[in-house]
Every structure is written in C-alpha cells, then in structure tokens.
Amino acid sequence: MNQDQYRILSRRFDRRDGHRLAAYEADGGYRALRRAVGELGAVAVREEVKASGLRGRGGAGFPAGVKWGFVPQGAETVYFMVNADESEPGTFKDRFLLDYDPHAVIEGSAISSFAVGAKLCVIYIRGEFGWLIDRVQKAVDEAYAAGYLGRGAFGGAYELEMIVHKGAGAYICGEETGLINSVTGLKGQPNIKPPFPAVSGFLGKPTIVNNVETVAAVPWILEHGATAYRKFGTEKSPGTKLFSVSGPVRRPGVHEIPLGLPFREFFDDWLGGMADGEELKAVIVGGSSVPVLTAAEAMEVALDYESLATAGTMLGSGGMIIIPQRCDMVELIQVLMHFYWDESCGQCTPCREGTGWLHKIVQRLRRGEGAPEDLALLEKVCEGMAGLTICPLADAAVMPMRSFLQRFRPEFEALAAGRRATEPDSRWAREIRS
C-alpha cells in the first residue's frame, strides 16, 4: 500500500526547507487564501469546510464548519485563535506541523479567520515549545512581508493581524476558554459555559478556537474541494488524521492515515509492529486522557471517531501510546495521575481534590502500603469526579484511571494485597514522564 497517498498534512514533513515561504509557495501555497478572498468569499469558504466534514482535531472531534456557524450573524468583532498548546501526554503531532509546515498553519488560520470574519488571529503556542515559537514567528513575519497578512493584504480585499502568543506552562490552557483567559492575561483556567466562546469569548466578543491540525487541513480542502477530502476516511469521520506514536514499535513518530483504517493495519504496515523482543500489551489510542485498550481489543478496532467510541475509547488527539508487556500498568497510571494532579487548575472541587486523591491512592499502592479496599475507593473517587466539573480535565483523569483498573485489575489487586511493587524496568515510564 502506498502510504504517501494519504499525506495531506504531512506532505512537507520530510523536506528540509518545507518551513520556508519560498518552498511553500512553490508547492502552490497561499493560492487557497487568494482564492478564498478573491473569488469565494466567506460564506462559500464556510460552506466548503462544512461540506468536507472536517472535525476538530484537538480531541473533541466537533465539526469545524458547524463550530464556525455558531458565531452570531452580524457580529462586528470576531476573534480567531489557533490552539497550539499541545501538551497531552503522548501527543506531538501539532509540533510537527508547526515545525515543518508553519505556512500551512498560517494559511489555514488566515482562511479560517476570513471565513468567520475575524481581523485578529492569535496562534497560542505552548510555552515549552520555545524553538517552535521562533519558527512560527519567522514564518508569520514572512507572510506579512509577502502581503498575505496585515492591512491591505490582497489589495485591501481583507485584513488580518496575526499574533504568535506564548503560553506559560499549563496543560489546561489547551481548553479553549482557558486559552482565551490566558491570552487575555488572566489566570489560565476554564470558564463556565454558557456563554460559549463562539458567542462571548476573548474580550467578550465571539471567538473561534481551532486546533493546529484542523486549520492546517483547510487550505487543502479549499484547493481540492470537499468531495476530494471526503474520499479519505469514513462517512462520519472524513479525511486524514495525524497520529503521533510513541512506544517500542519499529517506526514511532508522526503518521498520517485515512480515518477508519483498522488499527491492525496501521500497526503492521505503518508502525512495522513491535520492536525486537517487545510484545504488545495495551494501546492508548488518542492521548493519555482516553481509556486504554488491551492488545486484543486494539486489534479489533478501526481508527475513526465512531468505531473507537463503540469500542469504549476515543480518538482524542491521536497521541497513540504503545504499551509493551514489560510495562507495569500501575506505575504507568501513577505517571498519568501525577500529570493530572499537577495540571488541574484547582477551580472545581471534584477535580482539584479528586486528582490529588487518585494520585495519593495510586502512590500508596505503589509503595506497598495499599489495602484491598483501595480499588473500590479509586472507583468511588472517579465517580465523584466524572462529568461534574466545568471542563473535561477531571474526566481526562478518570477515563485512564477507570480503564486501567478495569482492564488490568490483577496488577492493582496484587499491589493492594500488600505485595510491594516489583521494581520493573521503569525507564520506560520515566521516558513518558520526561
């Protein structure tokens, strides 16, 4: 199978100069923006993206065109923000786009801003991505110099200011209202909804926040049409998707696949199976916040929103973590629970207290100080968190916790019975942690 035929977003990933404007233009870059502004107009762009069925690639999978449609008609000031706060453990696909193809992100952002009527676009980049911020800023400067951005772009047909904004180190700023608060200069924590940002967001004005990968697909869709885009993927999950794969497989890294691809095929053909001496134990399909699948379950699923939902997990961000047999699942969940405890913004009580409590119980188990009742307690704490908070961070901690408990219960039971944790090769878990 020619895997390259699916490379829409990743087509410049292996080019040394793919991030430069000249290379991007030579590939036909910024033609879609020119056409959107010069020929199509905002309404037609919105219709085309809606027709393509492009779904938000940040994790929730909400149709992008529909989200754009939530901006109240006649709104005078609209803002557009690109969510590049990629910080979900196991997820590193947006950084590839920003690194290797920043102009695709900029052009997609410009088209999307035009489509929703925004004259200010903020690209919010995770603060730890220092070098990417420089790279994207350079690309934005190039686009300004070339007349694609700023006032009077394309002979005054549209105007757009684009700002690259650096995050300050919080996972929760990837939640769109947290992101907006962070840009505003407030503490990065989510707001209660309603109102939704599409109605009242940045500075109280309608604001659309889209993921990097979502906007990066927009130029291609305009250039080739919604129908061409829908040739990839399934009816309800059209198009291609980047998966960032970590773990001991032969070819880890970022891969672009058509949605709906069976995991088995992805695993064998794209990833090349497990590395020598490794055996597959479990798979986290879409980033650390989604329920884990056992190896057997994983081999039965297809990689699209609906199939994965049916299998009891989620496509999420596409941050796929391949877990080998030698990995201690309790140790791994301890790493994840540490993450969510550390990253909870602390606003909502169930999340603030629950994430810490889960972490403490798992730590206790790992220290060999657990008790059999601790397993039921873990489940109870999860119940007190799930679905009860402003944003999904509590759920993001609960989903892995519950699924680890459910699918790998014997490992927890062995510890809860008072047996000290075997000190397995924790190098792997440490890699995840770092």
Binding site: D342, P350, W357, G387
Partner: protein, 528 residues
C-alpha cells in the same frame, strides 16, 4: 414568565431567573452550595448545586442555568443526592476538620451541609492531607486560614466586583491553590469584613470577633445600623446583654448584602465605660447619682410654668418617634418651636463613598425636615441660643464637644442633658437623665432615601436608664398634657397623624425592605 417543574411542582418564574433561585423557592431551602452568592457573579466552581434537568445528558449546576419554558428539574433524585454527597466529601478531604478550635463552628457551610448529606467515616488519613498556612493576619480586621478554605472564590469576587479593590486572588493551581493577598497589599478596604460574612467556612474570620463567643450562644435581633444616613440593615448578635458583632442583613433596596467596617464598630459605644446608668444631679458643684424621684423634682424646679424652657436641641441620631415627641415636649415647656433645633450639623459629617458609606453620619437626619425642624449650623446655632432665656435642654447630642461657639452661648445658663454617655455636655449640666442607646430600644429611622426602617431592641438598658419615649411622655404628662401616648404603637400613630409626609402610613406595619412614603417618593427620589 416561564413554567418550570421542580420536584413535581409546576411553578412560574420570570424569564432569566437563575435555576438556583427557582429551586430555592420550589424547595423552601437552597440547594447545597458554597460559591453561589446572589450579589456576586456566578463562579460555578464548588459544583455542589448539581440538579437533574430532563433532556440534558449530565447533571448541571443550577447557579449557571437560567430557567426555560417547560424545564423539568429534579433536585432530590438519588443521582443528585449522590453527586452532592461525593462533592462534599471532596471538599472535606484536605480540610483540617479543626472545628473545635474554629470560630466558624456553628455557622459553617461545611458543617451544616455535612450534617445534611454526611458521610461520617473519613476515607482520608490525616497524614495524607495537603497542609497550608494558618492564622495569617491579612488586614487590620481579617485573619486567613488557608487550610480551611474551600476555594469558593466569594471573597475574591467581592473584592473584584463590589469594592473593586482587588486585594485577593487565588494563587497556584490544583490542590495547591490557595487564597492570598496580592504582593505588597493587605485586605484593608472599607468593607473587608464582608469577606468574613460570605466565607462559608472558617477560612476568613474577624479579628474583632474571633474567640469572643461561640456563635450558637448568640441571639440575633434584626435592626438598622446607626453609623450613617444609609441605614444598612443589620443583625445584632448578642448574649446576656452584651452585643458581640453586627452582621449585614440583605436588603436589595438599601445595602444589598453588605455593610461597611466602620458601621460594624457601632456596637462598641453601647458598652462604653462612660454610659449613664442613673440620673445625675449637680450638688455642691459636682454631679452626683440620684434617684428618679429626685431627678423629677429637680426637673420640675428648673423648668415649669414660671420658668419656661429657653432652648432645646435634639440630635438626628434619635428616632423619628423620639424627635417628634421631643419637639412637642419642648413646645409644651415653653421653647418657641423655632427655637427647637436639629442639633449641631458638624458632629455628624465624615467622608462618604459611592458604595454604602454616607458622608452624613447621622442615621435619621431625613426625619428632621418631616418634623419641620431647622438645623442651624455653627455660629447660627450659638446666636439662636443667645437670643433666648431660660434653661437649655440637650437631647442625644454633645454640643459642648461638637458645636463651635456653644460653650460661650450657654455660659451662665442651666443645661439639662438627656443622653446615654457622660460626655462634655453632661459634665456641664445641672441635671443628667440616663436614656437608652440605639440597641436598647425600638424606634424608626428615616434614611437618605426617605425610607422608614425599624430598629429593634436587642439588649436591656443599663442600670436605671429609661426608655426614651417613656421618659418624654412622662414629662409631657407632668406638664399637664392629658393625652400623651401610653404605648409605642400609639406614639407611632400619633406621629403619623402629625407629619404630612406620613399621611396614610401605618408606621406599626412596615414591609421588610422598609417604606418610602408615597408623598416622599413623589416629591423626590431620594439619594442613592
């Protein structure tokens, strides 16, 4: 209006009503909550007021939901009860549970709601708790205990939204999040103790009140603050004749849910060392304690048919009934009505603000004009006094200390002082009559809006002190008047009948938010 069904009861609410308020009305009690406050923005962070709304996939917080036509809501289902119980448990897992040494015990949201929803067995060991700083004095009046805090953010929102001073914030994140004061600041705005009132737990406590009294021993009396012309509605908390604190009572038409810190100090003079406990008569040049019959005899000797009263002043801190009766009495004693003054203006002025504090520190000045009293200031007052002969009657004021030119004007005159404290005027008087301080009597005040509000007796008078209106009525009777009022309700009817502004008003039946008489409302909207 929209129709909403709550726990099987169909009720109508105005569109836009918060589901939280709708549930309170339908249930007769509020949903469990920490962060919701009717006079602050919605934070939605304590997550306790979750209710089940039919058609919605998950439980939803009532505080951030507006009622919609046809909404069907369940607040007592097992799912809702279970969620509240679990979230309460979350609130308590890092709480120190130091109730025995916590000043909030007895009026603590955490305690109260735990008793309702309680899971009495803790599943968290003490050693596993997150520990934070305790006993931090964060301002002249407030102490912070970060461990007890449930991070409801009410205090932060109060300082951001009401006083707009922004001293407080939530620092750090996750279970390390804590309330703190902005660097270089302290919580020293003029309303800082409201943060203690709205703190649902023992995280913020009052430096003045803490450890003075267990709250379950206190009795509360609804009253009106006498600190200024705003007339904030307050609750007087007292026990065994001692007032321990004032707390605001919510009245959206006057003070919302707030009161100022200065107003909270107005209970202190009640227990001042120089309170008058018995009549005092000047004998051999010094004031000496006397009995009431001796006092009456002295009064009769100083003022009577042969010795008409020269001049009378009353302070606008006395109640509407008292000022009305006093005016009448002064006229009966021979002081020309024009000679009766509202008292020295200067003593009752301070700095005001645009929130609650009025520059006019007198709680009842508005009733002076209703009663036709003039208020000559400074030199005018002195000139008016000098233009008369006979005894000078001073009621509730201390003009020797406060009014310029007063001493010279009354030099060589006989002064009779009616009051509560042994101040400079009392020291200069021949006869001193001990009366009741504001929390020791019932009475009506008219605030700067022209709103009549009832102040109520909370504690007993000290010693032989008299209730003001009874003393005035007795004196009136002594002058030969035969229809002096014999009860406070009768006095109020008597006042209403004599004051044009109160035409048709029954002063004995006031609505909870107080009453702005139609004549007043039509004349001017009042300040505010």
């Amino acid at each position: 209006m929209v129709k909403v069904t709550i726990d099987g009861r169909e009720l109508e609410f105005a569109a836009g009503t918060s589901l939280f308020d709708a549930c309170r009305e339908a249930r007769g009690e509020a949903l469990p909550h920490f962060c919701y406050h009717p006079d602050l923005s919605v934070a939605g962070v304590c997550r306790l007021c979750q209710v089940e709304v039919e058609g919605m996939p998950k439980l939803t917080i009532a505080c951030n939901t507006a009622v919609r036509e046809g909404m069907v809501v369940h607040t007592r289902s097992e799912k809702v009860r279970r969620a509240a119980q679990q979230i309460l448990e979350m609130h308590l897992i890092n709480h120190p549970v130091d109730c025995p040494i916590c000043d909030q015990a007895g009026e603590c949201g955490l305690q109260d709601q735990y008793m309702t929803y309680g899971l009495y067995e803790s599943e968290v060991g003490m050693s596993d708790k997150v520990h934070k700083a305790k006993v931090q004095v964060i301002g002249p009046r407030v102490v912070l205990d970060k461990e007890r805090c449930v991070l409801c953010s009410r205090c932060v929102r109060f300082c951001d939204e009401v006083t707009r001073t922004g001293e407080l914030g939530i620092f750090n994140r996750g279970d390390r999040a804590e309330i703190g004061v902005a660097p270089g600041r302290q919580l020293d705005n003029a309303y800082s103790l409201n943060t203690v009132d709205i703190c649902p737990v023992g995280a913020l406590t009052s430096l003045d009140f803490r450890f003075k009294k267990r709250v379950w021993l206190l009795k509360s009396t609804p009253s009106i603050c006498h600190g200024c012309a705003t007339g904030c509605n307050v609750r007087v908390d007292h026990e065994a004749g001692t007032v321990y604190r004032l707390k605001p009572r919510r009245n959206p038409a006057v003070n919302g849910a707030w009161m100022c810190d200065e107003g909270r100090d107005t209970y202190r003079p009640l227990h001042a060392a120089d309170r008058l406990r018995e009549p005092l008569l000047r004998r051999d040049g010094a004031l000496r304690a006397a009995t009431w019959p001796e006092a009456w005899e002295a009064l009769a000797g100083l003022v009577g048919r042969d010795a008409p009263l020269g001049f009378a002043v009353v302070a606008p801190r006395q109640t509407l009934e008292e000022i009305a009766l006093f005016t009448h009495l002064a006229a009966a004693l021979g002081a020309a009505p024009a000679a009766v003054s509202g008292g020295p203006r200067e003593a009752d002025r301070g700095e005001g603000d645009d929130l609650l504090v009025s520059a006019d520190r007198a709680p009842n000045r508005a009733s002076l004009s209703w009663l036709g009293l003039e208020e000559p200031a400074g030199a005018d007052l002195a000139a008016r006094v000098r233009a008369t002969r006979g005894a000078v009657l001073v009621y509730g004021a201390d003009p020797v200390a406060d009014a310029p030119g007063w001493c010279e004007a009354v030099a060589g005159r006989t002064v009779i002082h009616l009051g509560t404290r042994r101040g400079a005027t009392a020291e200069a008087a021949e006869v001193v009559i001990p009366l009741s301080a504001w929390a020791e009597k019932d009475g009506l005040l008219v605030n700067r809006q022209g709103r009549v509000q009832a102040s109520r007796r909370a504690i007993v008078r000290p010693g032989l002190a008299q209730e003001d209106w009874r003393f005035l009525a007795d004196w009136l009777t002594a002058t030969g008047e035969t229809d002096a009022p014999v009860s406070l309700p009768e006095l109020r009817g008597w006042v209403a009948a004599r004051v044009p502004a109160l035409a048709g008003v029954d002063l004995n039946v006031l609505p909870p938010e107080g009453l702005v008489p139609d004549a007043v409302a039509a004349g001017h909207g009042g300040e505010r």
